[in-house]
Amino acid sequence: METLIIASNILLWAIVLVLLIVVYALARQIGILHERVAPVGALMPMNGPKIGERVEPIKTDSLEQEKVIVGGPSDHRQFIFFLSPGCPVCKSLLPVVQMLSSDEDNLNLVYASDGETLKTHQQYAADFNIPQQQYVLSTELGMRLGVNKLPFAALIDQHGVLRARGLVNNREHLESLLAADEMDVASLQEYLGEQRAE
């Protein structure tokens, strides 16, 4: 009887050890999954203009009813952030957008939206300290840049060439658009894909 208890005790210890090793392997797998699904860069939709294409100048109206030209050659790069007063993620990204654009040299920030009433947009701009002359309303702009979901952002360089665009849900996504331009790639996903292929 005693031998049986000793044998079962040792067997149980061995099973506990094996199970712990399995738990470690699973935890490691979760870690690897985290790495793979980590936010890499803004998601670029399939439709709309390709990176490197010229964006013809689009005339838009600011909240102050002034004409603002988006696209085409200009003195500064243009970073267009598409938002909507009814989009909660857009709201949470506003401080990040403002900080990123102030950190970058030679970058004009344009807030773009459409729909709703002018008053709603003006109230929204006032609530979140958005300069009215930078806030434009244009359905055409969104359609030309292939905006299908919000919040969306696009970067156009001084020559009017589209450098990066995509759906942005967090700071990493926003930074990836600027990084893609600096690294001269269409998107960070493309860059990582090339790195993995090598």
Partner: protein, 178 residues
């Protein structure tokens, strides 16, 4: 009169386990001396000029603890080890309160993961476990089975330690996305 005692098997397992932890930790710190000094400086608790001395003192304290835990003077080892755990826990808590959660823990097997409340809790649990070894042991004879169980328990502890570290690093990784 009945006094609270600890079974010698449990006591020996705890003492051996902690000797292993402190020994490996000290060797890890010696091998990555410069990195550990930087980690210690990041805690911003001691003047920069004293960081080298503090690093050497910590490594020496861990080595001495590991050796003492394996000798009949194990109570001294428990006292130093307990003090070290409390000091580490306080250092982590102070930096959590300061919001410096991005700094490296400096804990063995957990590099580059930042610190969180779980690191502080882990150190408290370790301190309590180590303190339990200071209880007077129940006198009984130890057999081969005790030795076998101790080896298994130590092996399980090593893997469990790796699991906890892995899960802490997963947690920190995910927390950094927000």
């Amino acid at each position: 009169m009945n006094t609270i005692g600890i079974d010698p098997l449990v006591q020996h397992t705890v003492l051996f386990g902690f000797a292993l932890v402190y020994g490996c930790s000290a060797i890890h710190k010696i091998r990555h001396y410069v990195i550990f000094r930087g980690t210690l400086e990041n805690y911003r608790l001691i003047p920069a000029g004293l960081s080298s001395a503090a690093t050497i003192m910590l490594i020496a304290a861990e080595l001495i603890t590991a050796l003492l835990l394996l000798t009949p003077m194990y109570l001294a080892g428990v006292a130093i080890g307990f003090t070290l755990q409390v000091a580490y826990c306080l250092a982590i808590s102070v930096n959590l309160a300061r919001g410096r959660v991005h700094i490296d823990c400096g804990c063995m097997g957990a590099d580059g993961e930042g610190i969180s409340i779980f690191h502080a809790v882990r150190n408290v649990l370790l301190a309590v476990l180590l303190a339990s070894a200071a209880l007077p042991p129940v006198i009984r004879e130890m057999g081969i089975l005790d030795g076998t169980i101790m080896v298994f328990a130590l092996l399980c502890s090593v893997v469990a330690w790796a699991v906890v570290n892995k899960m802490l690093s997963n947690y920190s990784q995910q927390a950094s996305w927000r």
